[in-house]
Amino acid sequence: MTPSLDAYVMLSAALFAVGFLGVLVRRNTLVVYMCLELMLVAATLALVAFSRFNGTEDGDVFVFFILTVAAAEVAVGLAIIVALFRARQTVQVDRLNSLRH
């Protein structure tokens, strides 16, 4: 008895929601960033499951590209966070309020 597609999609949705929750409630920029990665991985899980259950390989190839973009994104994002820390001496989201209205 293999798990159904529904089970994979629900797991992916739950994982995405956990990442979303983290982005909303945490105040540390690095933790927020890790939660963003979590959301990205949840999306890849759904893609792989759809690809497997429909017998196509397009989803798998897309996951390839998503992983590439995620690696580039992490590099740039962490560089920005380090630059921000140098300029402001903090990475707490609520202290980074220069653009606040």
Binding site: T2, F65, I80
Partner: protein, 170 residues
């Protein structure tokens, strides 16, 4: 057997994801992220996407989490801001996440995704098929990805220069 493996892997993954969100210490969060990615890689193996599981462990667990740990230690945020439940903001966060999961699950249930068995051959397992797809149908995206990586590398070099250094933007 498959069902037991799926349930245990998904429990591991979700528990570690919650660990990322709730852990006080950012280093513990990164370690939870590592375990969570290991769980996802196990699920990929269960979906016969062996190559993707390998790449996930290599790129995410090997490079991304290591980079996170480096930056956490570089910025020295040991025991920094602990997680706190702070009023309306956190409440709104919980409600939004709950709504999201309910909505997506309703979509999954009502949308009749089809709960039949997996179709077709084990597509994801063959490296040859991947290579064929990448170099025929997806040749242009592959080249765009190459440019993207180059641009990201240049961007990181430019961003991480100290202000005031020779050639750095003022």
């Amino acid at each position: 057997m498959d069902q037991i493996a799926f349930i245990s892997l998904s429990v591991l993954t979700l528990a570690c994801a919650l660990g990322v969100v709730l852990s006080k210490n950012a280093v513990n969060g990164a370690m939870c992220l590592l375990l969570c990615l290991a769980g996802i890689a196990g699920l990929f193996v269960q979906l016969h996407a062996y190559l993707l599981a390998f790449i996930l462990v290599l790129v995410y667990a090997g490079a991304v989490v290591a980079l996170f740990l480096f930056i956490i230690m570089l910025l020295d945020m040991q025991g920094g801001q602990p997680w706190r439940f702070r009023g309306p903001q956190a409440l709104a966060g919980f409600i939004a996440a709950a709504l999201l999961v309910v909505g997506l699950d309703m979509l999954a249930v009502r949308g009749r995704l089809g709960s039949g068995p997996p179709v077709g051959h084990t597509v994801g397992s063959s490296l040859k098929l991947y290579a064929y797809q990448l170099f025929t149908t997806y040749l242009l995206p592959v080249q765009v990805m190459g440019f993207l990586l180059l641009i990201a590398m240049l961007g990181v070099i430019v961003i991480s220069r100290r202000v005031g250094e020779a050639g750095a933007p003022k």
